[in-house]
């Protein structure tokens, strides 16, 4: 193929974020001619993963960018060169730039999520390596004095019980609390056995009111339950209708893919790795890829001579291309307005010279060694009672994101700007100090990310004004786990292109290509 304009395309997809890449995957066996372009020189858009040098370039671009962008206020902090002393031997230094893969999309996948099923049924899982997400932890500073036998980070954190056995084993929960908790867990996993009469009204309560009034769950257990829902709002601002299905998702996923864990993260950059595996599968199916390709103008033509290929895109260096359908996202070039209300969160990615061994216990025999732990720091424990919780995802070097003896900590709090960054810094600082003398933040990236937080409302593709075949995916998701409603959008888009030719059940159902299975 010499030029892109030689071909008339069935589908042009702009941007290589997770939605667009999954759509390309879904269409990879459809026989449709797919052109997939990105204005960046890298894959992933706002879901990309970077080396240290690439992160530096990204920061410069974010701060220079005057376009609508999901990112702002990006900055990089580097530890000063350590003083020449004996200490340098116990405090590992930053390795070369490419020893790191730092992800803008570090979300994990619950074992029972639709995306997980699709990665298996589409055979894309063969190109991915999954690591287990291990324990959930809550920051509890009062524990500091009483439990001196604990080592490292475990001194200031307690483990959230993830199932009934855990509840019985937990020694920081009183017998009375255990009983109420068990009753709640039973209700969540089998809601129909109890009376469902007032359930709807109850579900509009806040999580804390629901737990207290319906089950007498003592207050000390509200935050642990909140953390299992991954809600980024405080327990008073999180509705029961949001939290309970997600707690149920957590509990029902444990053990689904193997003992002792309920969620996984793809090695080498989470979402960024999934989307590249999806694009590769699309390319193998005949999809054509062009990075670093700017769209100067996008025309939707009404004349009858264009009835088949309505879209004409003028590219900066590849002439013009025609297509029947165009898919893009809110944050890509062709969309000028923004309709969805966005949430802003403060985020950071820190490279740390510590391995936090106590955060990755093997809780069940035969379980894989977890590569990730989820930590929640409630706002009040950071001296900010009205603030939403700060979530930390600690990734060990088993994720392939950093060298051994180091970890990557991804932080997020639904409070943008300096206030949010201060909370994050405070949380990371407490974790590092608990770990001891050799632990240090070697490098960190801070930024504000705007996008959508799942709130139970289904998300939809939007159609451009007067452009019936042009569809836009919503801005990037800020959820900590990949939400199924984002996946529904991909199916919706796929359905638009394949129409009635294909049965719904065939979505993402592919055979192994010849010679590629393990037989």
């Amino acid at each position: 193929m010499e030029t892109l304009s030689d071909t008339t395309w069935d589908v042009i997809i702009l941007g290589t974020g997770i939605y667009q890449s999954l759509l390309a995957l879904a269409l990879s066996r459809s026989g449709k001619k797919v052109l997939h372009m990105d204005s960046n020189q890298y894959y992933g858009g706002s879901d990309a993963a970077f080396s240290l040098d690439e992160a530096q370039q990204w920061v410069e671009k974010v701060n220079k960018d005057t376009h609508i962008s999901p990112f702002k206020d990006a900055s990089i902090f580097k530890q000063d060169a350590p003083p020449l002393s004996d200490d340098t031997s116990i405090s590992p230094k930053l390795a070369s730039s490419r020893a790191y893969t730092l992800s803008l999309s570090p979300y994990f996948l619950y074992a029972r999520s639709q995306l997980m099923s699709a990665l298996v049924s589409s055979k894309v899982f063969r190109q991915l390596e999954f690591m287990a997400v291990g324990s959930w932890w809550i920051y509890a500073p009062e524990q500091l004095e009483s439990e001196n036998d604990k080592l490292g980070a475990e001194k200031i954190l307690y483990r959230v019980p993830g199932n009934r056995e855990d509840v019985f084993a937990a020694n920081h929960i009183s017998m009375k609390s255990k009983r109420t908790l068990m009753r709640l867990l039973r209700h969540i996993t089998k809601p129909n056995e109890d009376d469902a009469s007032n359930e709807d009204a109850d579900m509009s309560m806040s999580l804390s009111d629901y737990l207290a009034s319906k089950f007498n769950v003592p207050e000390e257990l509200h935050n642990p339950l909140l953390s299992l829902s991954l809600s980024q709002l405080s327990q008073h601002d999180t509705s029961a209708s949001y939290a309970l299905p997600r707690i149920q998702r957590h509990l029902s996923s444990i053990g689904h893919l193997g003992p002792g864990f309920g969620a996984v993260i793809p090695k080498y950059g989470g979402g960024a790795e999934i989307l590249q595996a999806a694009c590769r599968a699309s390319a193998v199916g005949g999809g054509v890829y062009a990075l670093d390709t700017q769209v100067n103008d996008c025309l939707w033509r009404t004349g009858s001579e264009h009835s088949e290929y309505r879209f004409l895109l003028e590219l900066a260096n590849e002439g013009s291309v025609q297509a029947k359908y165009l898919f893009t996202s809110m944050s890509d070039a062709c969309s000028k307005e923004r309709s969805t209300p966005l949430v802003e969160v403060a985020r950071s990615i820190s490279v740390v010279s510590a391995t936090f061994p106590s955060l990755f216990p093997l809780t069940v025999e035969g379980a894989p060694v977890p590569a990730t732990a989820v930590l929640m720091f409630p706002g009040d424990t950071l001296g900010s009672p009205n603030s939403p919780p700060v979530y930390l995802q600690v990734h060990s070097s088993d994720t392939g994101e950093c060298p051994q003896q180091q970890s990557v900590i991804y932080c997020s709090v639904a409070l943008p700007g300096p206030e949010g960054q201060a909370l994050i810094e405070s949380a990371v600082d407490r974790l590092i100090r608990a770990e001891g003398i050799s632990a240090n933040v070697l490098w960190s990236l801070r930024y504000t990310h705007s996008g959508c937080i799942s709130n139970g409302e289904p998300r939809h593709l939007t159609v451009g004004d007067g452009v019936p075949d042009g569809y836009r995916f919503p801005p990037s998701s800020l959820d900590l786990a990949f939400e199924d409603d984002t996946f529904d959008l991909v199916k919706e888009a796929w359905k638009i292109v394949v129409g009635d030719e294909v049965d719904d059940a065939d979505f993402m159902m592919f055979d192994d290509r010849d010679g590629t299975s393990d037989q």
């Binding site: 199916g285 894989p368 590629t516």
Partner: protein
Amino acid sequence: MSESANANAPKPSSSVKLVLLGEAAVGKSSLVLRFVNNDFQENKEPTIGAAFLTQKCSLPTRTIKFEIWDTAGQERFASLAPMYYRNAQAALVVYDVTKPSSLTKAKHWVAELQRQASPGIVIALVGNKLDLTNDGGDVSEAVGATQSEPESAQGGDEGAGEEDEGQDVVSGDARKVSTRDATAYAEDEGLLFFETSAKTGTNVVEVFTAIANAIPESSLKTGRGTGAGTGQTSLGNRSAEDSRVNLGDRNAATAKEGCAC
């Protein structure tokens, strides 16, 4: 504990991600076709759509399963390569010994790999279409990575007939890139180097075997050559292998499959 039990025990098996790079029409897909199917198509159409193939290669102590990613047909946009060489453990950079410009392009790819790919990536430089030269076809005369003899002038006009069809040659030798120049470049850059013919099969299996042997053991364990550090794993003596979540048959490779090596 018996000897026969040990002999029948399956060898450890590791997947190696290999990316195939080079200018269009140098014979990338043909090399892979020869390696995987031991087949050659004379006037092969340019590959449409990228290709993905796997082939096992049996070494004395382990089995290597190559996952081969071919950028076929999309070279001009240079957009598949970055996602292919991400976390790749090996790269095969191919040029055409009858086309000097293809070596220039190959050098660009080598530079790009050295700048962007995983630090430990094994790169093999391969001059293909050896059958169009006077060295062509005969395995005993072909230049391999471990050999360092000067360019062979033997071989006479053998094999210079119909295979040179369409080539602008007088002597029957269409070679435009000398073995000496390419070897020197490969040595400077620390690359494996072979001249091959996908058409006759010369040196094709040898390339892949040499790559398999050159992949460091540490990189096979962690799946990537970034092992910066002391060799100690992050979590005491638990290795990264213990942490991989097995989805179905991802790692259930059996040793029954035949091997080309």
